[in-house]
């Protein structure tokens, strides 16, 4: 577009009554028409609607508008919508300016319509001032790697990897543990259908292990991430497992001869495994690994020590010389699926978890209920080894509790219903089963029906939460609980108390959040880009989220989110190139002295200093720049500016913020 007269169209949106209920939109539009360069100003119920957009497009053509100011809701909602509309009408999309009359005016100033209208006018005046100076910009296109990094091999990571691999992307699946499977591998049956967790999970794990497009990196963690959407460079640290994965056949001969007993974390320490072990029977890869913290030989670092496994392994897979390995990967997209932790109930000391062996957590219950678990699926008291006569479940442990986690864990109620039903099935009708709850939440598909099924099985639902749990002199557990429905204080004796511990943020999220520039929400989980409209991705382009790392959820929701995020990654990478927003830093080399301030500050490593003639100059690596503006603010000679946010544009806006410039501008 050649230098020509600036012709601005101003559009004031009612947003139904959201804006028009407070702001006098007609007055604002009328006012806008008085501003210089404004050719026309209109107001309309819903600018974002089809007729609204069409009106703008027709005006652009008819009145040869070359700047558009839309006074509407937050740019986070519809900036993209209006830019597209402008583009379709032949206008460069970056010549559109959004003024926020909803979040900035009508919502916060609901009670003061007159002042709100004045503020709206001022904001429109500022928008117009900036619009006059907007520049034409072009999107940047970059080529992308058609490869994906998936971090975490629980059901979320497994599902997403399979979907993306099936769609033709190359997938690197990085799992911290020796086997994939995650939390689901530890579960006995699953609500609300009671199908066996291993039966539905194992085939998927095997598929991952065999898929030609999936490279499985277990016993590994991401150590470093560089780059930007479409072109990430990732360093993975693969810890030594002291067993050659390519040779081990999973026969477990070594496990049988290892003399060192080690608490079995997979079984929540209810049983012991050996210093060399396979994490659980269905592990993928089914390969042994040696725990250097326990292995006699590795602990002492002496060749003569033990070595029983080495002697017995027919496949010659044991390798005490194995070193940790750094693996460099190039990927176009990243999917984080590191799952969650489970609340440590010893923090809620009134229930005695950690002090009273018969107070157990729900994940511990899964292990003692699982046929392949430490008790062979027999539900017994950890203290006596005997079948309990009475079991009580206590809800909301660590969740809905301001002292710990204020959010609802979303699975605790259903887990206890499931476990109560399993207990009834295994222990028969004579056992007393109590579920003490505050609100019983069974909102998922088929979940309310599941609750009804539990009531049919004579499970005592007690509307009330006990204050504490006591251990009586005979070692059994006891608590009082006031029941809301009957106004009675129940005295409950229990041989086992199961605490419905909620899901809590994975402890690795601190480092993961920083490494991947993924934000956290107030509850500590990873933050999605938009709570309603962009739940599958972080706010960093190219980094996607799935499963319980984003927030507590059950398996169906986890799998749905994983498949959704996988589809997003496929969508991002399948074309082989992507368009990036041009809202980036540019260096005016004439003023740049190459002082290095910008490069040292840039959090995205997007600046480099290059030689120029005799001296040096800063240069922007366009694809890495996120347009955060740190460099522009810091540059001592004003040589860096951020496109679409230049000093000129912003100052023009500020100048008219308090009063109208005399005689227009």
């Amino acid at each position: 577009m050649a230098a020509c007269v600036v012709k601005i169209g101003v559009y004031v949106c009612h947003c139904g009554l959201n804006i028009a209920g407070t702001v006098d939109v007609a007055k604002v539009a009328e006012y806008a028409e008085t501003l210089s360069n404004v050719v026309l100003a209109k107001h309309y119920t819903y600018m974002c609607s089809d007729p609204g957009q069409r009106m703008i497009q027709e005006d652009i053509k008819k009145h040869k508008l070359n700047r558009i100011v839309i006074a509407t809701c937050s740019p986070r909602m519809h900036e993209e919508t209006f830019r597209k509309a402008a583009e379709e009408a032949g206008l460069n999309p970056y010549l559109v300016e959004i003024v926020n009359l909803r979040e900035h005016v009508s919502w916060p100033h609901g009670g003061e319509p007159e002042k709100a209208t004045e503020k709206a006018k001022a904001l429109v005046r500022m928008g117009v001032a900036r619009a006059r100076l907007l520049e034409l910009l072009k999107k940047v296109k970059v080529a992308v790697e058609k490869k994906v990094l998936v971090v975490g091999g629980g059901i979320a990571g497994i599902q997403a990897s399979l979907d993306m691999a099936n769609a033709g992307l190359s997938v690197y699946l990085v799992e911290k543990q020796p086997s994939i499977g995650g939390r689901m591998a530890q579960l006995d049956k699953t609500f609300p259908t009671l199908d066996c967790s291993a039966c539905i999970l194992t085939p998927k794990m095997v598929d991952v292990g065999r898929h030609p497009n999936i490279t499985l990196l277990t016993n590994s963690e991401v150590a470093d991430v560089k780059g930007f959407v479409g072109n990430y460079e990732v360093t993975v640290l693969k810890k030594a497992r002291y067993v050659d994965e390519s040779k081990c056949v999973g026969c477990e001969l070594c496990v049988k001869v290892c003399p060192v007993k080690v608490p079995d974390k997979f079984n929540e320490n209810f049983s012991q495994t050996r210093a060399v072990s396979i994490q659980f029977p269905q592990a993928v890869p089914k390969v042994a690994s040696i725990d250097p913290a326990y292995c006699l030989r590795l602990k002492l670092g002496k060749k003569e020590v033990c070595g029983k496994c080495l002697q017995v392994c027919e496949a010659k897979a044991i390798d005490f010389e194995q070193k940790p390995e750094e693996i460099k990967l190039k990927v176009g997209g990243i999917l984080i699926a590191v799952g969650s932790g489970v609340f440590d109930a010893s923090k809620m000391a009134e229930y005695g978890y950690g002090r009273f062996p018969d107070v157990i957590s729900n994940i511990e219950f899964e292990r003692i209920s699982d046929a392949s678990g430490p008790t062979g699926g027999k539900i017994v008291s950890p203290r006596t080894g005997k079948h309990p006569k009475s079991i009580a479940f206590i809800q909301c442990v660590g969740s809905r509790d301001k002292r710990f986690h204020e959010y609802c864990c979303r699975v605790g109620c259903m887990i206890s219903l499931k476990q109560a039903i399993l207990a009834r099935g295994k222990l028969g009708e004579d056992v007393n089963i109590y579920v003490c709850y505050n609100d019983l939440r069974s909102f998922g598909k088929d979940c309310e029906e599941f609750y009804r099924r539990a009531r049919d099985l004579d499970i005592n639902f007690v509307a009330g939460i006990p204050s504490d749990i006591r251990r009586l002199a005979d070692g059994t557990l006891y608590f009082d609980v006031y029941e809301r429905g009957t106004n009675r204080l129940l005295e409950v004796h229990a041989d086992i108390v199961v605490l419905a511990n909620g899901l809590v943020p994975n402890i690795d999220l601190d480092s993961i959040g920083t490494m991947f520039h993924a934000g956290r929400s107030a509850d500590g989980f990873l933050l999605e880009a938009h709570p309603k409209l962009r739940p599958l991705e972080s706010s960093t382009a190219g980094v996607f989220l799935a499963g319980t790392c984003q927030g507590p959820k059950d398996i169906p929701d986890t799998v749905a989110q994983a498949s959704g995020a996988a589809a997003k990654v496929v969508d991002l990478l399948s074309a082989g190139e992507i368009e990036l927003e041009p809202l980036k830093a540019v260096v005016d080399e004439e003023f740049c002295s190459g002082c290095d301030v910008c490069r040292s500050l840039c959090p995205f490593s997007a600046m480099e200093i290059v030689p120029k003639g005799e001296g040096k100059t800063a240069k922007v690596i366009e694809a890495m720049c996120q347009g955060c503006g740190l460099c522009a603010a810091a540059c001592p000679s004003g040589a860096v500016k951020i496109q679409q946010f230049t000093d000129r544009q912003l100052l023009a806006q500020v100048q008219v913020s308090c009063k109208e410039p005399e005689g227009g501008s």
């Binding site: 509307a463 009330g464 504490d468 009082d480 609980v481």
Partner: protein, 168 residues
Amino acid sequence: MSLVDLMSMAKPNLKSRAKVFSKLKGRDLVNCFQCIKCTSGCTALKLLELKPHEVEKLANLGFVDELVASDILWTCVTCLKCIQRCPQKASPYHVIMALRNLAVEREVKIPEAFMKAVSQVLETGMAEAYQKIAKGTETFDRESLKLPRIGSPREGFQALFLKALEEK
């Protein structure tokens, strides 16, 4: 003992509620979600039928006048289990204390011992009177036990304490 005729408590009094909230500096300590944990553990429940969750809810809904007039306020043993364990960091204990203060302001009849303690402090500086301890045939007091004499409150203390009691 229990709350006065619960069924007839039909009309909340929002002014009284606001008064309680202001004593509690906001609604945080009344922000109960009725999990009943406090009542399950309340020391005064079994024998005296104090239900802290009910106090919370009544205060929250504005049924304050009835509460203030009720004997139930004076059954709390101040064991502090409710506030310690409340998952919402509400505090029936503090609500009860605020209601007791309100009862005094409204000159509702309150257990005598409390007013007696106050007048005792006013007179002697302490809420209790010196006792002689009997054991077998002997009796003991501070003097016979050679414990130090305790001085009386300074002049001016009474006026200041009375002034403090005026604060609402």
